[in-house]
């Protein structure tokens, strides 16, 4: 099979890509960090300029990689393959957090817990050492659905024996419903690739407090980030909001209560938008505006649906959370293949 080289301009990095391997995959496997998030062509994070050489954009959607982008030489590295040796522009530095090479591995399902309405926590034991940073995600090859992959945030830390995924059931979903709420069995093997994503805890960012805002199972990566930050500095101010519709969707309450008991400057605040729950009714955005007079000097991690992330980002901005210290992770609905443009 023909291989091509991908050279990153201005650096010494050159990686080799197989003919059917996406450029992003080739770079991440070689340990060359590139910004990336959804890995399905919808977020645009991995867009890069090709300085010379030819690429095939394959399934890149026109909404993410416009005709103008294509004319200007841009490509979505998570979709495109090199069809000749290429040189790409170096991406901006991103965070200084450690970047781990992308690997494929197998893991065994060790436990499945029903923790809340439509919400399961699945624990997976990898068959080899798997390095990642708190907050990153893995891509799961959905068992029983060849070719289908889904990306999940990791709620655990690399030091844990198991990878912890929070899965919210979407009726009819091949992964969340048919597999995670259907055929899944303890002892079953699943194929994974990871780590992915640049929503990561940055251990070099030690100033000021952390503001962790999660909507629904968007709390998952924040669990890892909170634990990593408090392990580095048990005294650090960490404020977590967990937004859900009704109390039936709250989970991990004991975990957060234990964290609060052990750390003097840690606060956990559930926010239930559609019913009363111990005086914490309301959206996270409203609760935040009510509770916090300023977010100046804090670093924010926001994870959930587009609507959740946009809403809490606007509230945090009103409280002067600095844009450069605001990190967002959005749930990207699984891409419908018939939207693909040529």
């Amino acid at each position: 099979m023909t291989e091509h080289t991908i050279t990153i301009a201005g650096r010494d990095d050159t990686v080799t890509a197989a003919a059917d391997q996406t450029m992003l995959d080739a770079m991440l496997r070689a340990g060359v960090w590139m910004p990336n998030s959804c890995n399905q062509g919808t977020c645009g994070t991995c867009k890069l300029k090709v300085l010379c050489g030819e690429v095939d954009h394959r399934d890149s959607p026109l909404s993410t990689l416009t005709d103008q982008d294509r004319a200007d030489g841009y490509t979505l590295t998570c979709q495109a393959v090199a069809t000749s040796d290429v040189t790409v522009e170096a991406a901006d530095g991103g965070t200084d957090a450690v970047h781990h090479p992308l690997i494929d591995f197998t893991a065994i399902v060790t436990r499945v817990d029903d923790v809340a309405q439509d919400t399961r926590i699945v624990y997976l034991r990898p068959d080899r050492e798997f390095e990642f940073s708190a907050g990153q995600s893995v891509s799961l090859h959905v068992p029983g659905a060849p070719g289908e992959r889904r990306q999940y945030s990791i709620a655990s830390l690399p030091t844990d024996p198991e990878i912890e995924l929070h899965i919210r059931r979407e009726a009819g979903g091949v992964a969340s419903d048919q597999w995670a709420n259907g055929t899944i069995r303890v002892g079953e093997s699943v194929e994974l690739s990871g780590p992915l994503g640049d929503f990561v805890y940055d251990p070099s960012d030690t100033d000021g407090g952390l503001l962790l805002l999660g909507g629904g199972t968007g709390i998952a990566p924040l669990k890892g980030i909170a634990r990593a930050a408090l392990a580095d500095n048990p005294e650090r101010e960490v404020i977590v909001y967990h937004g859900v519709r009704t109390c039936a969707y709250l989970y991990d309450q004991q975990f957060w209560a234990d964290l609060a008991a052990a750390h003097p400057n840690f606060t956990f605040r559930p926010a239930v938008s559609r019913e009363h729950h111990e005086g914490c009714m309301g959206y996270v955005s409203d609760r935040l505006l009510e509770d916090l007079s300023t977010c100046r000097g804090m670093t924010g991690y926001l994870c959930g649906s587009d609507r959740f992330v946009d809403g809490v980002a606007a509230a945090a901005k009103r409280r002067r959370l600095a844009p450069r210290r605001t990190f967002r992770e959005r749930f990207t609905p699984a891409r419908t293949r018939d939207l693909v443009a040529g």
Partner: protein, 406 residues
Amino acid sequence: MTMQIPTLEWTREVTMEQLERNPYPTYERLRKEAPLAHLPILGAAVATSLETCRAVGASPDFGGIITPAGGRTFGHPAVIGVNGEVHADLRSMVDPALQPSEVDRWIEDLVRPIARSYLEKFEDDGAAELVSQYFEPVSVRALGDSMGLQSISSDKLREWFHALSVSFTNAGVDENGEFLDHTRFEIGDRAKAEIRAAVDPLLDKWTTDPEDVWISHWLHDGMPEGQTRDRDYIYPTIYVFLLGAMQEPGHGMASTMVGLFTDQEQLDAVVDEPGLIPQAIAEGMRWTSPIWSASARVALTDTEVSGFHIPKDTVIIQSYGSANHDEAGWDAPSTYDLRRKPLPHLAFGFGNHACAGIYFANQVCRIGLEELFESIPNLERDTDSDVEFWGWGFRGPKELHVTWEV
């Protein structure tokens, strides 16, 4: 068949005050009726469309010339008004420090602390007038420190560029070509006397003890050992910097900010994604070009532009602020829209007199806005006061009042 440059009858009524308050309606009509025309109040021809500005700028038959009021203000030889060897020498004097690779070496360390220092003065006040409290001070301090004027206060530098601007743009003439208003030149003359009193001692010092600041380099670079450039030779260019270069990033940032305030969605996008700031600045510079109409060309020979016959010695004022609103270049040009296709605008001029400080200015603006949004991401325009733009030669908002929740 070529046409003579016309004088349109209605333009005889146009006043300087009208142009300085709002030049757009006059220039829009000129672009439609005669994109190259004599404008009696200026005693010169004006190129007002994208096409005519580009044609004049690119033609080898034109040289740079300083506008008459500009020449009266700066004296000779100012880098913007000379050609040939003197121009080449002056550019070789100012250009090295302004090369992108050189600017990249120190711009962050220079501008960020300056921006922070001004923000610290008001960031917890909940209200500010950004032009005088932030945009202009950041602009003059960044340039002043680079030039070697650390000892001159920001307020004094701002006062100087305002005074030089009033004098430089005192373009109004009567039918005999005599200036209508001499008081504006006197304001400039007083500022120049102050500048010389402050800068002469620095030149004395740098003559014997060179420092790594721009004006010291201007004295020494390229000169034989033991010799320096004559100070009368470099003063006009010092004035060019103290006016154009001092005001430009300040007005560029201020106009960009006003543009962003016209559309909350664009403002939110830029605050959330600082990577959009350079695009926002480029659109701000197009939308209200800070150096709106301060650059001129002179025909070195009989020639032709866009079908017009141009006799030798004809002075054409390049109306870049008007060209940047040409419907032939942009849809709805008076709307601020940072998502436009980034077609090159003419805010930094064109041809071999194109602005030497384009990269420096854009970097100052970028860092200034990055620090502002970082510190106050929840900026709102204070809608109790209107934003009033002023200027024909140099244009920007006079004041920009903002509020935010502390």
